[in-house]
């Protein structure tokens, strides 16, 4: 599991520092060409525009790709900010209660983030609820993340295949995930991950 996270990190850095930068550099060159030539050679304008549009699309796609591998906000600001961001972007209203100060280890941050993200996605897709509570706290030894919706409950054991993979990941860090989903009383997912 640790190797996977290191690998993700490497891929994200390679894309950010390599491919993305090269594309931006090409964008600059195009900008320069346009500035030098477009006035005297108006026929070039539409062609350059086409190239620029294609490049903008490539950068956009790359951004989404790196976002999926390792969200920029998690890299740049850590778990508390990334969870806040997740809550704000969710398709359901999210009550956020995040009490984490400073940075945790990269593996712990990533595991907790993906657990919260998957649980939120499940709540939006399957719970038929109207609101989600996302709580995360760290007392220095144990990180606790809880995602609770007010939906129909009755989620099967483990709460789906996406979560199974994440449970493995959390267990590899010495933690565990529990899901409680009584029919009619919402679903609560709880992850505990050692962070000392």
């Amino acid at each position: 599991m640790r190797a996977t996270e290191t690998e993700r990190r490497r891929i994200e850095r390679d894309l950010h520092d390599g491919t993305q930068q090269r594309l931006v550099s090409i964008a600059m060159t195009l900008g320069l060409v346009e500035s030098k030539l477009a006035k005297d050679r108006p026929a070039i304008g539409p062609i350059l525009h086409e190239a620029r549009d294609a490049l903008a699309l490539a950068l956009e796609e790359l951004r989404e790709l790196t976002q999926g591998i390792r969200p920029a906000i998690l890299v740049e600001r850590g778990l508390a900010a990334a969870l806040d961001d997740l809550g704000r972007r969710a398709a359901l209203p999210v009550q956020l209660h995040v009490a984490i100060s400073g940075r945790l280890s990269e593996n712990v941050e990533a595991a907790a983030y993906y657990v919260a993200s998957e649980a939120l996605t499940n709540a939006v897709k399957h719970s038929h609820g109207s609101e989600v509570r996302l709580a995360a706290s760290c007392d220095g030894a144990m990180l606790e993340v809880e995602v609770a919706d007010d939906g129909i409950g009755g989620a099967g054991d483990g709460g789906g295949s996406g979560l199974r993979g994440l449970a493995d990941r959390v267990e590899a860090l010495g933690g565990r995930i529990t899901v409680s989903s009584p029919a009619g009383r919402g679903t609560t997912l709880r992850a505990e991950i050692p962070c000392g």
Binding site: A27, L32, R52, R89, A91
Partner: protein, 216 residues
């Protein structure tokens, strides 16, 4: 207008410098990290510093921290933060240190030299500039049911977005092909509907709008 460029990637730093010179800016220095940037700003006192958000040593948000420090220590220097990913929260943080001479744009915008240089000039002249995608993010976050944005018309939402980008009534009017007077009426309605304090100051209203959009 005198500018400096800070980016740890040589190809981007030098590429941007070449581009800006082409657009008529005087590039007075290049920096590879925040410390070099501070020294450069102290020595050259540029009109605008253009700063990549990720720089050594941690490659996280050094550029943003540098921007905040420059704003407090050399307030007469404008700042444009460039990023490969746009985060609305960074824009909010940047604006919370003051809305004058500050901008936050997606790095991709360098391909449109005319728009980029217009943005830098606006910052140098004291205005705030925000990437349209920041505004789209903020508006997207807000549109989840019971909030005041629902009470705005489509046209008012368009005006709101352009306002948040830092554009003046005149520029908004030109963009939407309506008169400045009509823009003023829309702005008045928007501020009334959102219960924001009225402000005729373009800079301060950017902050008001962004704060509103960011609140939950």
């Amino acid at each position: 207008m005198r500018v400096v460029v800070a980016d740890d990637a040589v190809i981007l730093r030098e590429g941007l410098a070449r581009l800006l010179e082409e657009a008529g800016f005087e590039v007075v220095g290049l920096a590879a990290d925040a410390d070099e940037l501070y020294a450069l700003v102290e020595r050259c006192r540029p009109d605008v510093a253009i700063v990549d958000i990720r720089m050594p040593p941690t490659h996280t948000d050094e550029g943003l921290q540098a921007a905040k420090l420059i704003r407090s220590r050399w307030p007469e220097t404008g700042i444009l933060v460039l990023s490969q990913h746009v985060q609305a929260r960074y824009a909010v943080e940047l604006l919370s240190t003051g809305t004058e001479r500050v901008g936050y744009l997606l790095k991709d915008r360098v391909s449109d030299l005319a728009e980029l240089s217009a943005s830098i000039r606006r910052i140098g002249e004291g205005a705030p500039v925000l990437d349209p995608s920041v505004v789209a993010q903020l508006v997207g976050q807000r549109r989840k049911g019971d909030n005041a944005l629902e009470d705005l018309t489509e046209r008012e939402l368009e005006v709101l977005a352009l306002m948040a980008e830092g554009r003046s009534n005149k520029a908004i009017g030109a963009r939407l092909f309506i008169t400045e007077h009509t823009v003023e009426k829309h702005v008045k309605n928007i501020f009334g509907t959102l219960r924001l304090p009225q402000s005729t100051d373009d800079h301060r209203r950017v902050l008001a709008v962004v704060r509103f959009l960011n609140s939950q």
